[in-house]
C-alpha cells in the first residue's frame, strides 16, 4: 500500500464517518482529526516537492481496453497540500460551536459534513490522474461533489447550485470532446500518446484542443465569459463550505489546465500557435482572458453589499492572476501564478471564515447592517485585516509576493497592457476590501450588536492559523517557492531560483525579509513616537462628531450604503451587465426552441409529420 492509497482510504473513511455520524455536532472534533490524518499523509508525501519519485496508486483499471492509472507528482502534491489544509481548516472551523449552531438553525449538519468530506476525497482522485480517462473521471467526481456542497444550504443556494451544474456539465462536455478528439488522433487516452503527435498536428486541430480544454476547465475557474455561476454558488454555500470552495475548488480548473495544456501540449506549442491576423499567440490569448477575468469580476465585487458575495467575486478575479502568471510561462510569472494558488487559498479561507464568524454572531453578512465590531470581535478583525492585506496584494502578506512576481514578469516580457490590467485589478481589490473591513468592523457599533462577543476557540483557531501562514509565507516566500521549482521542472517551464526571502536578480530582486523588516522598523518608529507623545485618551465609540454635530446614541452615523458614491458616479455607467444579458439571451433562445419542440407534440395530426418527413426523406434520397 502506497501513501496515495492511504490518502484515498483516509479520505473515503472520512466521508463514511461523516455520513454515519455527521448529524451529531459532537462528531466534529473526530472528523477534524480524520482530516488531520489526511493532511499528515499528504505531508508525508512532501519529498515529492523536492524532486522525489512520483507516488503511484495501487488500484489500476482497464475498461473497454483502456487503462486507468493514478499517481501523485510534485504538481499533484502542491494542489493536494492546499486541498488537505483547506479541508482541515474548514472541518476544524465547523467542529464545535458553529456546527451546533448550524444544526440548531435547522441546517442538515450530516449533509454538510458529508458534502465537505466528499470534496477533498474526489479532488485527491482528480489530482492523481495520469491519463485523459482518469482525468475526466476525477473531473466529473469533483464537479458533482461541489454540487452537493452547494446544495447543502437549501433555499437560494439550490438555485445557484443548479446554475452551477449547467455550467459544470457544459464544461465537462467540452473536456470530454477534447478527450475524445485526442483519442481520435492517437487511438489512446494516454497523455504521452497525444504529446508524441503534437508536432504533427495541424493548427486547426491544436486550436480545437486548446479551446476545448481551456474552455472546459475555464468554466470551473470562472474565466470570462463563464464566470456568472461562481459568486452566487460559493457565497450561498454554508460558511465553512464556502471557505473550502473559495480556497481551492475552482483551482482544480487551473490544475487540469496545467496538466493538459502545459504538461501535454506544452508551452512551446501554445507559443507557436498564433491567431490569424493578430499579433497574439495562444498563450497571450489566455493571458488576455485572464486580464479580463481580473478586472471585470473585481469591479463587480466592488458593488456587492453582501460580504460573502464580495469575497466570492474576488475569488473569480484572483483566479485571473493565477492564469495570467501561468500563461506568460516564464520562470517568474509561472512561479507567481502558482504561488498565488497557495496564497489565495490561505487568505481566502481565512476571509470567508472571518465573515462566517461575523454572520455567526450577528446573523447577517449585509454590509449595510454591520459596523463597529472591532471592539467586540478584535481577533476576527485581525484575521480579516491580515486576509484583506493578502487579498489586496500588499506587503507584508503572501499575496504581495505572488503579485510582485507576476508584475515583474509582465514588465520583463514587455506586456504593458496586461500589466496595467493587473494593476487596475489590484486597485479595485484594495478599494473594495477596504469597504469590507470598514463596513463590518469600523465606524459605529449598532445597538443590536452591543452584546456581540468574540467567537469561540474552535472557530478562531483555524482562522488564526491561516492568518499566521499568510504572514509567514509572506515573510519567507522561499518556503513555497522551493516546491514550485519542482513543479516548474515537471511542467517543462523555466525554473526559478528562489531564496528564502524571494528572488535575487541583478536588476533588482525581492527579499521579503528586508521588506518586512523595514516595514516593522517603521511601525516601531511610529510606536516610539506615539509612546513618547504620551497623551492618549480613550473615548467611547460614540464620542465623536460629524459636520460639526456631535453624535449621540440616537443619531447613528456609520457611512456604509452607497460607499463609493463618487467613484461610482465616474465608473457606474461602465457596469452594463452584458454577460448577464448574454446568459439570459441564451436561456431565452433555448426556451424559444424548447417551445417549438414542445409544439411538435401538440399537433392535431401526428400523421402530418409522418407524411412530411417521408416526402423530405424521399426528396433527399432522390437528390
Amino acid at each position: 500500500m502506497t501513501l496515495l492509497d492511504g490518502l484515498w482510504l483516509a479520505s473515503a473513511l472520512t466521508a463514511l464517518a461523516a455520513g454515519l455520524f455527521g448529524r451529531s455536532p459532537s462528531a466534529g472534533p473526530w472528523l477534524t482529526a480524520l482530516y488531520g490524518v489526511q493532511f499528515l499523509l499528504v505531508a508525508f508525501m512532501g519529498p515529492l516537492a523536492y524532486g522525489a519519485d512520483p507516488v503511484p496508486a495501487s488500484p489500476a483499471f482497464s475498461v473497454l481496453g483502456y487503462g486507468l492509472s493514478w499517481q501523485f507528482t510534485a504538481l499533484s502534491w502542491f494542489f493536494a497540500v492546499i486541498t488537505a489544509g483547506a479541508a482541515l481548516a474548514a472541518a476544524w472551523f465547523m467542529s464545535g460551536a458553529w456546527g451546533r449552531h448550524y444544526a440548531e438553525q435547522g441546517g442538515d449538519l450530516r449533509l454538510l459534513q458529508l458534502a465537505l468530506a466528499l470534496n477533498p476525497s474526489t479532488m485527491y482522485v482528480l489530482l492523481a490522474s495520469r491519463d485523459f480517462l482518469s482525468l475526466f473521471v476525477g473531473w466529473e467526481l469533483v464537479s458533482w461533489a461541489s454540487f452537493v456542497l452547494m446544495l447543502a444550504a437549501g433555499g437560494v443556494g439550490v438555485r445557484w447550485a443548479l446554475r452551477y451544474l449547467v455550467y459544470a456539465i457544459g464544461g465537462a462536455m467540452a473536456v470530454m470532446a477534447a478527450m475524445v478528439l485526442s483519442h481520435a488522433l492517437t487511438g489512446s487516452f494516454e497523455f504521452g500518446a497525444l504529446a508524441a503527435v503534437v508536432p504533427d498536428l495541424s493548427a486547426g486541430t491544436l486550436w480545437s484542443l486548446v479551446i476545448l480544454l481551456s474552455g472546459g476547465f475555464g468554466v470551473k475557474m470562472g474565466l470570462l465569459p463563464f464566470h456568472l455561476w461562481q459568486a452566487g454558488a460559493y457565497a450561498e454555500t454554508p460558511g465553512p463550505g464556502s471557505a473550502f470552495l473559495g480556497a481551492i475548488s475552482s483551482r482544480m480548473g487551473l490544475y487540469a489546465m496545467l496538466l493538459t495544456l502545459f504538461g501535454v501540449l506544452g508551452l512551446g506549442t501554445l507559443k507557436a500557435l498564433s491567431i490569424p491576423w493578430t499579433p497574439l499567440e495562444a498563450h497571450e490569448l489566455l493571458a488576455w482572458i485572464a486580464a479580463f477575468t481580473i478586472v471585470l469580476p473585481t469591479f463587480t465585487a466592488l458593488k456587492q453589499n453582501d460580504a460573502r458575495w464580495l469575497l466570492a467575486w474576488h475569488g473569480i478575479g484572483q483566479g485571473g492572476y493565477m492564469l495570467m502568471g501561468v500563461a506568460m510561462g516564464d520562470a517568474l510569472a509561472s512561479a507567481g501564478g502558482l504561488m498565488h494558488v497557495f496564497n489565495h487559498a490561505t487568505y481566502q479561507a481565512a476571509l470567508f471564515m472571518a465573515v462566517t464568524a461575523v454572520v455567526y454572531r450577528t446573523g447577517t453578512a449585509d454590509l449595510n447592517k454591520l459596523g463597529g465590531l472591532v471592539t467586540r470581535m478584535p481577533l476576527t478583525f485581525l484575521v480579516l485585516l491580515v486576509g484583506i492585506i493578502g487579498l489586496a496584494g500588499l506587503p507584508p502578506m503572501n499575496g504581495f509576493v505572488s503579485k510582485w512576481l507576476i508584475y515583474r514578469a509582465l514588465i520583463d516580457d514587455g506586456q504593458p497592457l496586461l500589466f496595467v490590467a493587473a494593476v487596475v485589478g489590484t486597485l479595485g481589490t484594495i478599494v473594495s476590501v477596504y469597504k469590507l473591513l470598514h463596513n463590518i468592523f469600523l465606524g459605529q457599533l449598532r445597538v443590536e450588536h452591543e452584546s456581540v462577543r468574540e467567537v469561540p476557540g474552535s472557530m478562531l483557531a483555524p482562522m488564526l492559523a491561516l492568518s499566521l501562514i499568510v504572514f509567514v509565507t509572506g515573510l519567507a516566500p522561499g518556503l513555497v517557492l522551493d516546491w514550485l521549482t519542482t513543479v516548474q521542472r515537471e511542467l517543462g517551464l523555466a525554473v526559478l531560483a528562489p531564496t528564502l526571502g524571494g528572488v535575487e536578480r541583478p536588476d533588482g530582486g525581492l527579499d521579503m525579509l528586508w521588506v518586512v523588516g523595514i516595514l516593522f522598523a517603521g511601525f516601531g518608529v511610529g510606536a516610539l513616537i506615539f509612546l513618547a507623545g504620551g497623551r492618549a485618551r480613550t473615548v467611547h465609540q460614540l464620542d465623536n462628531y460629524a459636520g460639526g454635530h456631535f453624535l449621540t446614541a440616537e443619531v447613528r452615523y456609520h457611512y456604509s450604503d452607497n460607499f463609493y458614491a463618487g467613484l461610482m458616479h465616474r465608473i457606474g455607467p461602465w457596469y452594463r451587465g452584458s454577460f448577464q444579458w448574454l446568459q439570459d439571451s441564451v436561456v431565452a433562445a433555448t426556451d424559444l426552441l424548447a417551445q417549438a419542440a414542445a409544439g411538435v407534440y401538440r399537433v392535431v395530426q401526428p400523421a402530418a409529420w409522418l407524411l412530411g418527413v417521408t416526402v423530405l426523406a424521399l426528396w433527399w434520397v432522390a437528390a
Binding site: R602, V604, Q605, A607, L611
Partner: protein, 143 residues
C-alpha cells in the same frame, strides 16, 4: 427500366391509392374517415405488393399434375398480401372499436376536438391548468 403500359397504369394506380390514403389521413378530421383513409392507403400498398409478383400472360402459381405449365406469377407476394390484408382488417376493426369508445368517452368523432380534450385531460391529470385557448377570452368579459 421500361414497363409495359398495363403495368405502368397498375403501378400508378397503386401508388396513387397510397398517396390518396396518406393525404386523407393527414387532412381528414372525422375519425371514421381517417380509418377509411387508412384502409385506402393499405389497399394501395397491398396492390403494390401483389403487383411485384405480377407478370403479364403468366399462369396462376398452381402445379398441374406436378408439372410447371409455363411461366407463372410469383406466388410469394400473394401469400404476403393475404397476411397483410388480414392484419389490416384487424387493425381497422380495432380502430373502429376505439372510435366508438372515444365517442362514448368524449362525445366526439373529430380529431381536433379529440386532441383538445385529450390534452386537457392529460394536463388536468398532471395538475396543470388547461392550455389557454386562442378563441376564448382569458378572463370573464366585463358585464
Amino acid at each position: 427500366m421500361t414497363l409495359p403500359p398495363l403495368e405502368i397504369v397498375l403501378y400508378t394506380g397503386a401508388v396513387s391509392l397510397l398517396i390518396i390514403g396518406l393525404a386523407g389521413l393527414v387532412m381528414g378530421d372525422n375519425l371514421v374517415r381517417l380509418v377509411l383513409a387508412l384502409a385506402v392507403a393499405e389497399a394501395g400498398v397491398n396492390l403494390l405488393l401483389v403487383l411485384s409478383g405480377f407478370r403479364q400472360g403468366a399462369f396462376a402459381p398452381i402445379l398441374l399434375e406436378g408439372r410447371v405449365p409455363g411461366p407463372m406469377v410469383d406466388p410469394i407476394p400473394q401469400a404476403l398480401v393475404l397476411t397483410a390484408i388480414v392484419i389490416g382488417v384487424g387493425v381497422q376493426a380495432l380502430a373502429l372499436a376505439l372510435v366508438l369508445r372515444v365517442r362514448r368517452a368524449y362525445g366526439t368523432v373529430e380529431m381536433r376536438t379529440l386532441r383538445a380534450r385529450l390534452h386537457e385531460d392529460l394536463d388536468a391529470a398532471a395538475g396543470l391548468p388547461p392550455e389557454t385557448s386562442r378563441n376564448a377570452p382569458a378572463v370573464e368579459r366585463p358585464a
